[in-house]
């Protein structure tokens, strides 16, 4: 019988600790596939965040280091400067990247560090139990904005991808919603492109993924996908925010 689906070699035979229906499950698998289908694996060094994805090193058979909460892109800078021909990528939640690590993210992008960031936006702090994140949308309920986020009280959400896409050191930013097999393929394609651009030395690249957190959203996995489509994409519309290679010459 022909095998049509199997475990990527780079996924270690460990059971994911993620909740059922969580986007992190899919993302880890796709990363393994992309690394496996290319010669990226032997150059790859991953920086795992503090957040639900902190245990990435248990799942991916590549070189992985942890970083203090939010500091992934600073750590990535150190690695890339030490080994310029390595393929360096960070994997960060929205709390990690847009809140505590906003400074490191902005400046690594500003410098145009030749590293790639996978930015997993689930509009809350998953690991610590569903508190408000900078990405939490207006009216969204979390454990620290139980009446729903209000602009008056909690302030406005932050769209980091949009900010980063405006920087000249950033070569590629794309946002995908992880809601269907077709969209998973979009993420895969985007990741391949980002790695390719990094290899070509074009600058900082980032893929934002709108990713489910059924546990803290208190929705079923299926309803979580719907919520991304119907609610999240309104605030965070998917698409290519910048691709400087495709639009050589002009920037937007």
């Amino acid at each position: 019988m022909k095998k049509v689906f199997e475990r990527p070699r780079l996924l270690k035979p460990a059971t994911f600790h993620f909740c059922p229906g969580c986007g992190h499950n899919i993302l880890h698998r796709v990363i393994a596939e992309v690394l496996e289908e290319s010669d990226f694996r032997e150059r790859a060094i991953m920086i795992a965040p503090v957040g639900c994805a902190v245990l990435a090193y248990f799942y991916l058979d590549i070189d992985v280091t942890e970083a203090p909460h939010g500091r992934c892109t600073a750590v990535a800078t150190g690695i890339k400067r030490a080994i310029p021909n390595s393929l360096v990528f960070t994997y960060q939640g929205d709390g990690d990247l847009a809140s505590i690590g906003a400074g490191e993210t902005l400046h690594a992008a500003g410098r145009g560090e030749k590293v790639t960031t996978i930015y997993v936006n689930n509009a809350n702090y998953g690991m610590t139990g569903g508190q408000m994140a900078p990405t939490t949308m207006l009216n969204q309920v979390t454990t620290t904005c139980s009446a729903g986020r209000s602009a008056e009280r909690e302030g406005y959400p932050l769209d980091m991808s949009k900010i980063l896409a405006s920087l000249p050191g950033v070569c590629y930013v794309e946002r995908v919603a992880l809601t269907s097999p077709a969209n998973v393929q979009k993420f895969k394609k985007a990741l391949r492109k980002a790695f390719q651009y990094q290899t070509e030395g074009l600058g900082f690249s980032l893929i934002e993924v709108l990713s489910t957190c059924p546990t803290n959203w208190k929705l079923t996995p299926v309803d979580s996908l719907k919520w991304i489509e119907e609610v999240m994409t309104k605030s965070y519309p998917p698409g290519v925010l910048v691709d400087r290679k495709a639009n050589r010459g002009d920037s937007e």
């Binding site: 060094i45 942890e66 970083a67 150190g78 393929l87 400074g103 410098r111």
Partner: protein, 362 residues
């Protein structure tokens, strides 16, 4: 660099940088802060000319120490330098470096605090460096030079010890030492018998992936990890204590001082010895591990100790712990940050102590 024979004239800050470069540290990440800006300036000029060298001016000390963490994870030699407020900001990263067992050298050209304090020299970061500084049960080797030559030598030793024991090493410089200009012999670094870096992240080519992690959730394993770190610290305590003994052969009173203060105290001791006072000094060179035995041993002959610091009294706690009541410990200190004591001042304090304590006891 001005050179004559095998010696060159260097400031303390430039000596840190030159020693690091000659020790094979070609990666530097830092954020400007006075009184150590000459170090990043020197590095920014020299490192880009070296193959594989890189200098990054980080956006903060928080970023700088994490860039150091990343570079150290690849197994290459790396350093950052700063001064007190910047070192405070690095404590989170230093805790992670200790937990992940990543080698690097961090020089603190200490200035006056707390808070923003000022840019003048001080010794008020002793606790921060010798007690861990960040969260968790860890220690950092802390080396305290007192001449520009020693800054050079200890910086190179720092890289050696960092690699040998896999962890961050702190050079406890001082603002004053950084600015001082003295002849320095540019020695070659020791690289003997260092363990292979078989943990380094270099890309998993023809081998399984490697991981560096400090999050340890499995039952009982964090305790195991901490015991492992502790065994390493005990080994360091056994092997890496360093101190200088000065005129202790017939001393009745022992000064204990480190860094710039020890140097000034040396001048004071020479003066009071001309007047016939039998005074010596023990100068800790490694602040952690603290050379407590040397002090305890001295107490077999000396019953009076005088600790002098450019702080309101921090190292004195280690001296007291070492002596465990075996001798009397007195203290003279002034908060740093604007005060540079001179040998005459220390001489008066030493004489007063001598006449009040030693002579009276007879």
């Amino acid at each position: 660099m001005k050179s004559s024979a095998n010696k060159v004239l260097l400031s303390g800050n430039h000596a840190v940088a030159e020693a690091a470069i000659r020790a094979g540290c070609h990666l530097y990440f830092g954020y400007p802060i006075t009184p150590q800006n000459e170090i990043p300036e020197y590095m920014s000029e020299h490192l880009p000319k070296i193959k594989g060298g890189a200098f990054v001016q980080a956006e903060s000390e928080l970023a700088a120490i994490n860039m150091v963490l990343g570079a150290a994870a690849t197994g290459r030699r790396v350093m950052t330098t700063s001064s007190s407020p910047g070192i405070s900001l690095m404590q989170e990263g230093i805790s992670y470096l200790a937990a992940l067992e990543l080698p690097c050298v961090i020089a603190n050209m200490v200035r006056g605090g707390p808070g923003l304090g000022n840019i003048a020299t001080a010794q008020s970061d002793y606790f921060q460096s010798t007690r861990g500084g960040g969260h968790g049960d860890y220690r950092t080797i802390t080396l305290a030079p007192c001449t520009v030559q020693e800054i050079y030598d200890l910086t190179q030793l720092g890289f050696y010890l960092a690699d040998k024991y896999r962890g961050p090493v702190i050079i406890q410089g001082e603002g004053l030492l950084g600015q001082m200009v003295e002849p320095v012999e540019l020695k070659e670094p020791d690289k003997k018998d260092l363990p292979p870096k078989d943990w380094a992240l270099t890309g998993a080519k023809d081998r399984p992936g490697r991981m560096l992690r400090s999050l340890i959730l499995e039952e009982g394993i964090l305790e195991e990890h901490n015991w492992k770190l502790n065994r390493k610290y005990l080994e360091i305590e056994k092997k890496e204590k360093r101190f200088e003994s000065f005129r202790m052969e017939d001393a009745n009173l022992a000064v204990v001082a480190y860094g710039s203060v020890a140097r000034i105290a040396k001048g004071a001791i020479k003066r009071v010895r001309e007047e016939g006072l039998k005074v010596g000094m023990i100068r800790p060179i490694s602040l952690w591990p603290f050379p407590g035995e040397a002090i305890r041993k001295a107490a077999e002959k000396v019953s009076q100790f005088l600790v002098i610091e450019l702080s309101c009294g921090q190292m004195i706690e280690d001296v007291r712990l070492a002596l465990a009541g075996k001798a009397e410990v007195n203290f003279y200190g002034r908060p740093g940050g604007g005060v540079i004591p001179n040998p005459a001042e220390f001489g008066r304090v030493i004489s007063r102590n001598y006449y009040q304590k030693v002579r009276k006891a007879r």
